[in-house]
């Protein structure tokens, strides 16, 4: 509705305000304070004064080679998100919207990994990936694949966590795509069938184009989720071995809550904020190309 009368405009405002007020109060105001504090040095004791240090916290962060390494790990997470998670989640969404006899069973089991607490999932995978005796190495040996110490090898640790992450959240993202698939009108497929389109062709030429909005939602959630990822890394490797799987968010946590350098922690936070918003807006732009 492009033109609205005053009454409609007021209603629109009234619709936005309650949620927005809540969000601004509980999220945005603390966020602004956190940006403010990133220019100060503070030891996290309320009676200790904050000392203005300008860009020193940022300098400290950017000169730290571990930080750049952790950004590389974020890149792994994003790559996993788009190359592994997105196709799998989309396929799962297709599956639960097709007429398989086990549809109900599939729907429930696919969601299982997110229902279990992450601590349990993390621990289980530590065992499944355990060298020589874990299920995955056993299967790999059976297939004559090279032996890999998934969580113990610094080069593999982050990749392993990324893959476990995709396994965990595939069912979760399946829901997002599923909501999109059910919104596609049946008639489109009917006419597709009359034209003699195969299953793949229907997916390629009807489902995928109709799902643009949902791929956009997925992309934004994936990017922001990867940038701030904390839990699974913390549980499965603790950032190890020897800091190989450290993420910006685990570094932020350590700086602020372990070493009590809240200024440095906030500087990392602000960097993540800027990077995340920029990437999300960029994604939005890419998806909006060719829109009205």
């Amino acid at each position: 509705m492009i033109v609205g009368n005053t009454k409609q405009r007021r209603w629109d405002l009234a619709f936005i305000i309650p949620g927005l007020v809540l969000f601004v109060f509980f999220i945005i105001i603390p966020l602004c304070q956190s940006i403010f504090q990133s220019f100060y040095s503070w030891n996290g004791i309320s009676i200790s004064p904050m000392k203005y240090v300008g860009l020193k916290n940022y300098k400290y962060v950017f000169e730290n080679q571990d930080f750049w390494h952790s950004l590389g790990n974020v890149a792994w997470f994003m790559a996993g998100g788009f190359i592994v998670l997105m196709p799998i989640a989309f396929l799962l969404a297709l599956i639960i919207n097709k007429q398989y006899r086990l549809k109900r069973f599939f729907k429930t089991t696919y969601f299982m990994p997110v229902v279990l607490p992450l601590t349990a999932v993390g621990l289980m995978w530590v065992y499944l990936l355990f060298p020589a005796v874990g299920l995955v190495p056993v299967v790999m040996e059976w297939l004559h694949l090279p032996e890999i110490n998934f969580l113990g090898d610094p080069d593999w640790a982050i990749i392993s966590v990324v893959l476990v992450n995709e396994w965990t959240y595939a069912g979760f993202n399946m829901l997002i795509f599923s909501a999109g698939i059910v919104a596609i009108p049946e008639e489109l497929f009917e006419s597709g069938k009359i034209d003699g389109a195969s299953g793949w062709q229907q997916t390629r030429f009807i489902t995928l184009p109709m799902m643009k909005e949902y791929f956009k939602v997925f992309s934004i959630l994936c990017i922001t989720g990867c940038i701030k990822h904390f839990n699974l890394v913390f549980i499965m490797t603790g950032g190890g071995p020897n800091r190989a799987s450290e993420m910006p968010a685990t570094m932020l946590y350590n700086e602020a809550f372990v070493y009590k350098n809240f200024g440095v922690g906030n500087a990392i936070g602000v960097f993540l904020l800027v990077a995340g918003v920029t990437l999300s807006l960029l994604t939005n732009k890419i998806f909006s190309r060719g829109d009205d």
């Binding site: 996290g44 309320s46 009676i47 020589a132 110490n149 603790g238 020897n242 602020a256």
Partner: protein
């Protein structure tokens, strides 16, 4: 939707009933005049000694002494620190909190957050003299004062499977050379000599503590903390090389980087490994395990004979008081500290776990203590000096994490040089 809404309403009803009940429980008992004191500590869960502590606090609160205690117990370590740090950062201070002292609490002592307990200890000499010699965990060279007292104690040594030792005709090793030959013999007979569990970085951290203590002693530890001895000097390189070699030779078992402390412990309980390097908190777990009867204990082998009496040990938790400026509150908090460090509580804790080591001298009942606990206490009498984590005496608060993370490098193909470089990067950044 209707069905769903009715479920919600049921929930609301149940919930209101539960809360009405809950608030009645807590509000009724005490009069309003009482001095309120809040405690934040890790004494949750069903470990018998913490149950005893919890009950003691509850009884203290209920007793007619003019003090009511609001206790908040969070068991898991990360969750506990999240809460502690946040409360201190927002100014919602607990009156008493639990921590390990040393470098972890240096900032708090420095900023004047903590009450100096020395005057209170001096005013009650019986209390002061009841502690074993680990009060220094809450003292700092450049900040005068006593900023906490220990409530729990630990020391570290090696548990071993007596049956396996007997079968293979192995003597208890005293020196490092003897220890390595024991490991070689165990390896040759198909045992993982001593699973370490380096997925938890504190494991090699503790191992390093012992190697340092047994090679340069307690004074050496202090010198390391003040940089009189450097982390890239020959003293540290020598013991790092040992860790590297031990791992290469397989003394810590296969895949030690993949195992956490729990798995290493399970290896010992399942008789995969013949020895288990751990703190005294392991005693009650071993006593519950299937091999309880077979386990003995010996001191960590010395590297230099003169430092055979230097042990890793110290507080395994203690309490500090936050300076709220309200003297009545502080006085009440000191009363609670005295209860928490009383001989009665220590004796009750000992009875509940059938052993253990304690930071306060008291007359225990030797008949209730488990054989393993007796073995540990006997061995402990040989100790002449205790130091806890060596980084606790460091000028740099980041050293604990820095060293532990760097040590992990030794288990994933890193060399001693790389490990030293990792540590020095943090030393020099400060």
């Amino acid at each position: 939707m209707k069905k769903f809404l009715s479920i919600v309403f049921c929930l609301v009803m149940i919930q209101t009933m539960v809360f009405a009940q809950g608030s009645q429980d807590s509000a009724a008992v005490k009069s309003a005049k009482d001095q309120e004191v809040t405690i934040l500590a890790t004494w949750a869960g069903d470990y018998p000694a913490t149950v005893v502590t919890r009950n003691t606090i509850a009884a203290f609160s209920d007793a007619d002494n003019g003090i009511t205690v609001n206790a908040d117990y969070v068991y898991e370590e990360k969750a506990y620190y999240d809460k502690l740090r946040t409360r201190i950062a927002t100014g919602e201070f607990p009156d008493i909190f639990e921590d390990y002292g040393g470098a972890r609490d240096r900032d708090y002592a420095e900023s004047g957050l903590l009450v100096d307990l020395q005057p209170y200890l001096d005013a009650d000499t019986a209390w002061r003299d009841s502690f074993v010699n680990i009060l220094s965990d809450w003292q700092y060279e450049d900040i005068p004062g006593q900023f906490g007292v220990p409530t729990d104690m630990y020391c570290v040594g090696i548990y071993y499977n007596k049956e396996i030792f007997k079968d293979l005709n192995i003597e208890i090793p005293e020196s490092m050379d003897e220890f390595t030959s024991v490991c070689d013999k165990l390896l040759a007979n198909g045992y993982a000599p001593m699973s370490l569990g380096e997925k938890d970085p504190y494991r090699a951290g503790h191992f390093l503590n012992n190697l340092v203590l047994k090679s340069i002693g307690a004074q050496g530890v202090m010198d390391l903390g003040s940089r009189k001895i450097s982390y890239d000097g020959p003293e540290i390189r020598r013991v790092l090389q040992m860790i590297y070699d031990f791992n290469e030779k397989g003394y810590f078992g296969p895949n030690t980087i993949n195992k956490d402390a729990g798995m290493a412990r399970a290896d010992f309980h399942n008789e995969v490994s013949a020895m288990h390097f751990d703190g005294t908190w392991a005693i009650s777990r071993i006593d519950e395990s299937a091999i309880a009867e077979k386990v003995g204990f010996f001191a960590f082998p010395y590297i230099e004979k003169e430092f055979a009496g230097s042990w890793q040990g110290g507080n395994n938790g203690g309490v500090s008081i936050i300076n709220t400026g309200d003297q009545a509150r502080i006085d009440a908090a000191v009363e609670i500290l005295k209860t928490l460090t009383s001989a009665e509580l220590m004796a009750a804790k000992q009875a509940s776990i059938k052993g253990g080591v304690f930071p306060v001298k008291f007359e225990g009942d030797p008949t209730i203590v488990s054989p393993l606990a007796v073995a540990v206490s006997t061995e402990m009498t040989k100790a002449t000096e205790f130091k806890t984590d060596i980084q606790n005496y460091d000028v740099n608060t980041k050293m604990l994490d820095a060293v532990r993370n760097a040590l992990q490098g030794l288990f994933v193909g890193g060399t001693v040089d790389e490990c030293v470089q990792d540590i020095m990067r943090v030393v020099n950044a400060n």
